[in-house]
Amino acid sequence: MPTPSSELFTALSDPTRRALFERLSREGELTVWRLTADSGVSQPAVSKHLAVLRAAGLVRDRREGRQTHYTAQPQALRPLVDWVGLQGAFWRDRFDALETLLDRMDQ
């Protein structure tokens, strides 16, 4: 298991950057222009955040003409994700739902 880099923690500690990363994860490749349009943050600020995400390996950029396109690189999260723990949380939530159902069912 590789040790998470401090760049990764720094990159994800900011809510604006997390929102950018989540959006790229959800929607695929987007230009800086598109990312700026709905972010409520100025274009230079978005570009600065994207540079931090890129340094952490969380996004990749691609130049095409005058536009820069960004894509999420979710594998960069790999050192952080405790998959077994997450699956445990999933089942505990399902246990709650199962008990709710049992309370409603007839014997």
């Binding site: 923690f9 994800l12 979710p74 994700v81 445990g88 199962l98 159902l101």
Partner: protein, 146 residues
């Protein structure tokens, strides 16, 4: 201390166990675990049948890194006692789920064990969308402590 310790990633076991005493008889819990329309109410819509060798699918809404489908095959059926099936996703998760019901004073002990997680593969993180919130919470604690 390395930053990953608080997240538990380096020390994580390779199986998940959830156990709870439920104030219902085993027969009733068995129905909820094995009848498709009841499974749909607490887990996911499905075409499950409690027959050894039967393949099934559970379907939820697709997520960015996962098509929302779990595929499995029924491996063990001991009515009111034990149920095992495989639990696989297109994101690369290939695990086993085992349910055990044990009567106890006041109800039934319900035990779930999901086993077969691999330590290293890239596929694991892909299905982790579900836990994003929890992940971020853990991360924020780590960041706050640095």
């Amino acid at each position: 201390m390395t930053p990953q310790d608080p997240l538990g990633a380096s020390l994580a076991p390779r199986s998940v166990v959830v156990e709870r005493l439920m104030t219902h008889p085993p027969e009733k819990i068995w129905r909820a675990l094995t009848q498709g329309h009841l499974i749909a109410e607490w887990l996911m819509p499905n075409d499950f049948r409690p027959v050894v060798g039967a393949a099934f699918e559970l379907r939820t809404k697709p997520m960015p890194q996962w098509d929302g489908v779990v595929r499995g095959e029924v491996l063990e059926v001991e009515p009111n006692q034990r149920l095992c099936y495989s639990w696989k996703t297109s994101a690369g998760m290939d695990t086993l789920v085992a349910w055990t019901l044990t009567p106890e004073a006041g109800g039934t002990r319900v035990r779930l064990e999901q086993s077969g997680f691999r330590a290293d593969e890239e596929a694991n993180f892909r299905g982790a969308t579900y836990g994003w919130q929890r992940f971020v919470e853990a991360l924020e604690k780590v960041v706050a402590g640095t």
